[in-house]
């Protein structure tokens, strides 16, 4: 297999360039202004936190498109909050780098997080929240999470993720206005996002992109949709159960691919696109004797003739017992209309699986965690074990190993060369 390697992100035509875009130009000074202003105002209303984290990933095997055995990453995250009587302001930014050119080396993507690479600097949050009685309005860049399940959250439509590492994906913030109205027992959540923030997909020149052997692939500029996204969710908290219904109309943050033969290249041109999507979802949680049952289901339709119509659902049981926390469940998928378009969807790829998570607290500073995903056909397995220890008030070290096994035809199994050891050191403040 051959691959046209394009290391700096800006060399791709139409992708984010090195210069600051208008959106980027104002948001960084805005954050600085916020921090200076907040720090000089009433200290009691100002809180901050953050961390510096370095991670080393060691891969025993190389991949056809990636000869590296080790990847190093560093992330600095700073968050600040300022509170007035009815108004709250939040600001957060990330600064990151790595050894594997997964992070851009320029200032692109500071606000609109649409680049292939992770941005060097990114605004993670910059929002204002107004509260009056039962009404809360938050506008700006923010993290929005829906759903109750842990093993898979089909209704979590406003939470794109960074899938550069498919099995360890951080959530990405979006730009939106969120209106929440309700009491303790009933809450209505309305969200309007003017522009899609896509999930970040594996880079073609690194191991998490599994390409067809012997076919040169040329990636074209992605076709981003221009329209807004809208969602509504009603949540009810009862004495014996908590449940919600949700609706989403917008675009899938995970791409499908247009694939066209490239005669000159004797390969293929690939272009990401994000089909229109409508979701009808529900989730519930209820204690059942010794365990808590959580369930979540969503049905997805699309007006795009290339996108599938399908339903995803999750059933999981939870239990805390002594120092153990246990979660086990099944994630399922029903395709009602199959269009056969090539796509990248870990959300769907992790379905038809038994999923389990276990955590054990050894003592106040040390813990163990295990998680596994086993495809029901036995063709793909992901298992991870992790040991974590805190040192003093600020430091934490985590060491673990992730095992990926399976058939090349399986979503999980195709990453069978990507088993890896993880070592993370974090300083929190």
């Amino acid at each position: 297999m051959t691959f046209h390697r394009r290391t700096p992100d800006s060399t791709l035509p139409g992708m984010v360039g090195p210069a600051l875009s208008p959106a980027n130009a104002w948001c960084f000074p805005a954050i600085l202004a916020f921090l200076v202003l907040a720090a000089t105002l009433h200290a009691q209303n100002f809180t901050q936190r953050g961390f510096l984290e370095t991670t080393a990933l060691f891969f025993p095997e190389t991949a056809p498109n990636d000869s590296a055995y080790a990847v190093g990453e560093a992330l600095f995250r700073y968050e600040a909050f300022y509170k007035l009587t009815n108004l709250r302001f939040a600001a957060a930014f990330d600064a990151r780098t790595d050894t594997h050119e997964e992070t851009a080396r320029d200032w692109g993507g500071l606000w609109w997080d649409r680049s292939r690479l992770r941005p060097l600097f990114a605004v993670r949050r910059l929002s204002a929240t107004y509260t009056r009685g039962r009404l809360t309005v938050e506008a700006g860049k923010q993290l929005i999470r829906w759903g109750k399940a842990d093993v898979l959250t089909p209704t979590d439509r406003f939470a794109p993720r960074d899938f550069l590492n498919v099995v360890d994906a951080d959530f990405l913030p979006i730009t939106a206005a969120r209106i929440t109205y309700g009491t303790q027992s009933d809450t209505l959540d309305l969200i309007l996002s003017p522009r899609l923030t896509p999930s970040r997909v594996p880079l073609l020149d690194q191991r998490w992109a599994v390409l067809p052997p012997g076919v040169p692939v040329h990636e074209l500029d992605p076709a981003f949709p221009g329209g807004p996204q809208f969602g509504a969710r009603w949540n009810h908290i009862g004495a014996v159960a908590e449940y919600s219904f949700s609706f989403y109309n917008g675009y899938d943050h995970l791409p499908l691919f247009h694939v066209q033969p490239d005669v000159a290249l004797q390969g293929a041109d690939v272009q990401r696109f994000y089909p229109q999507m409508r979701m009808y979802g529900a989730d519930a949680a209820s204690p059942l004797g010794p365990v808590t049952l959580k369930s979540e289901a969503a049905y997805f339709t699309s007006t795009n003739p290339q996108a599938d119509n399908y339903a995803l659902w999750v059933l999981q049981l939870e239990r805390q017992a002594g120092e153990w926390s246990l979660v086990a469940g099944y994630a399922g998928q029903i395709v009602t209309q199959h269009r056969g378009t090539l796509g990248f969807s870990p959300v769907r790829g992790f379905t038809r699986s038994v999923v389990a998570h276990a955590g054990y607290t050894i003592d106040v500073n040390r813990s163990l965690a295990f998680e596994s995903v086993v495809r029901q056909n036995g063709q793909g397995v992901y298992a991870k074990a992790e040991y974590s220890q805190a040192f003093g008030q600020h430091w934490r070290a985590t060491a673990g190993f992730a095992l990926v096994r399976g058939e090349a035809t399986d979503f999980l199994g195709q990453y069978h060369r990507n088993s890896h050891a993880i070592l993370t050191l974090r300083y929190s403040f």
Partner: protein
């Protein structure tokens, strides 16, 4: 006689009142600050004296493990309302890695509390199920259940004796949860100080075995309410101990209902 008889109503009242007063004084001298109290009355009085519309403090926690390793944490605590009908928020301020993690407790007079935990790193709230309340709260020796208020109506009480705690005379009372109350403990034994009705110690049992002991020390009068400023919780099975010190304690501060909702947990991170 006649004279005596004529004079009798008023005199009789006075003598009766005098006798009653003497009897009361004698009884009080023998029995303690209030007469003829049963266990429930003592607990009710204890709760009545500790009642305040709202409360805030900054808690510093020192967790000492069985092998004597010490870890420090701190949180902010806000409470609105009183026993049986109160709401509380605990938000961690240290160590740095758990800063912003918060717990909302909604207490009910007729059943166990509702609890939600907010984890800012993943922007998710999680309801703490009843069966999970025996779990330790963020590495401290307090369980989730220990953080809820104990309304007087949710227990059956029995006065089992008197015993001093750290030199202070106390009533010893056994409290067993009623059927409507879901509890990890089969019995909570409490020692209530006779001088100010502040509970000096709790010992919680599971099947006749003491599992957690809470010692309440450093009792001070804060805005007219006798309050223990130091709470020492010992996990008798793990042999670990958490000391919670209440700093900057204030009662009767202005708090709003809408600061005690799941939405507020997310909003105030």
């Amino acid at each position: 006689m006649n004279k005596w008889h004529k004079a009798s109503p008023c005199a009789a009242e006075r003598s009766s009142a005098a006798l009653s007063g003497l009897a009361l004084l004698l009884f009080a001298a023998l029995a303690g600050p209030l007469p003829a109290q049963d266990a429930r009355q003592i607990v009710e009085e204890s709760q009545r004296r500790g009642r305040a519309p709202s409360e805030h403090y900054e808690g510093t926690l020192e967790v000492t493990s069985a092998d004597s390793k010490v870890t420090r944490k701190s949180w902010q605590f806000w409470r609105l309302g009183s026993y049986g009908n109160s709401k509380a928020v605990i938000r961690f301020t240290a160590p740095a890695e758990v800063k912003g993690v918060a717990l909302l407790v909604i207490n009910h007079p007729d059943r166990s509390s509702d609890q939600w935990m907010w984890t800012p790193a993943i922007a998710r709230d999680r309801r703490i199920a009843l069966q999970d309340r025996s779990t330790r709260f963020f590495g401290t020796d307090f369980s989730f259940e220990d953080l809820e208020e104990r309304d007087v109506d949710q227990y059956e009480y029995r006065l089992t004796g008197e015993e001093p705690i750290e030199g202070a005379p106390c009533w010893r009372i056994d409290a067993r949860p009623r059927q409507t109350k879901t509890s990890q403990y089969t019995l909570s034994r409490m020692w209530v100080r006779k001088d100010n009705y502040v509970p000096a110690q709790y010992e919680n049992f599971v099947k006749d075995q003491p599992v957690r002991r809470l010692l309440q020390k450093d009792i001070q009068n804060i805005q007219g309410i006798w309050t223990a400023r130091t709470l020492e919780m010992t996990d008798l099975r793990r042999k670990s101990r958490t000391i919670l010190r209440l700093e900057k304690l204030e009662y009767n501060i202005p708090l709003k209902e809408d600061e005690f909702t799941v939405q507020a947990l997310r909003r105030d991170q």
